[in-house]
Amino acid sequence: MSRDALLAADVIARLLRPGALDGDAEDAALHLAGIEERLRSSHKGDGLRLMGDDVPVTAGDLPPEGWIWLLENLSAKDSEPSYQILDELYRQYPDQLLRLRFVDASISHPAVGERYATAIGQLRERRRVSLSQLPPSWPRNWLLAQINPEAEHTSASRFEDRAGAVAEISLYLVQVGTEEAFAILAGLMHETSEITAPAREQIDTVISASRESGVRWTTVPGFDE
């Protein structure tokens, strides 16, 4: 997606806000569909590109609602968003709901599901798959960067900050609750680094509360014992 097109998408973002148009939400939604059609047709069916050096977009190009709309709307034809943009978005918006939706959208792209299919199969066979053995995804890479301070894109340097950040994103992943999210969490649970301890404790608490209420986690890869 070109920068111009992305800036045009700012209009979309504004339309997503209730009351943005004089008319009704139905009108806004239809208007949105028209804009999307024009955006896509301007790219001759190649799909939107949000990854790569030739896509000079930044998190500031769209308001957060616009990013959520765009990221959740990506199809198999569109590229995955670059991890750099997701890093920026996550850093720029400390609001937890926005972060939850960024995390969810980051692993909802069909390409992530395809990459994770094998690992999810291995987890279902009760094989151990560490975080570093999992295929790339933005939350997996982000977690590895927090656990390993030498890695790139480490957003917080203090041990306590990084431990808190790992715990925070782990809760988003529990809330997202997809197979891919649980595969990442299963990998996190096998990390022995002290920095993951608060996160592991948190995940245990959520799962234990559910199990104590009689819920069986048999369908969740990596958590089914």
Binding site: G23, E26, L30, E65, W69, G113, A117, Q175, E179, V220
Partner: protein
Amino acid sequence: MSRRIRPTPVDSAIRRAIATSTGQGLFGILGISATDPAANWVIKYTSPLYGGEYPPAPRAVGAAARTALHISTATDFTWGTGCYVSPVIYPFSGAIYGRCGIVAKFDPKDWNIFDASSPLNVDLYMQWVDWQPLKPLLMLTVHANLANQYLRNSFRETFNVDCVVFPPDEVNPHYTRHSTHRWLAVSDWASPGRLQKGKLSGRFSDPKLVVVVAEDFEKVRGGLGRRTLIGPQAVPFNPPVTPADLVMAHRSGQIVTVSP
């Protein structure tokens, strides 16, 4: 792939509720026979700006977006992202949203249905929300619309709900009745367990402008109601227009004008 699988203690009860509604079928829930001539038809109202020419001329701006009914991604829609329609048996229920009624055909056979017009089912949804790990965040955020949209989309994705049947939540005494009318939030799937969020709905076919209502509305009571600005002073409309009339008009390419 990308299916939501986190279990909660109310999942079984929700699945039973969906199985019951699905067993009844949409027409059963709506209290109509599948042989009713209006059964397989829906209507969606919008303003003349978008609905005045539907489908539009092929080269019109944004024409492709009006070759089908669209999926609404606005954050303030009742049951999240989806295609919102009224069964045509409530021909004017959605007229509070615009003068132009677009009529389209559909087939709800094999749809998984969540009947949110049942208080028991709504209670199940609320119990499911209680079990969301981030419930405090989702309930207390300043971004209430974003949170509600997220929860309702997640619920529909978790339980593969093709259609939510719900009572209108914006009302008008002449057009839109909370107690007797039902609206539908219909899902399109991008992949198994993941809603399509945007673009056109593949659930409805042959959408055409069929009704023009000579009325305008004003939001009242903070958006909970819509006040008619012209009339009607009483139902039925004059002359009365039935759902079957609208289906006939769709087939014959006529536009029915309804005056208060």
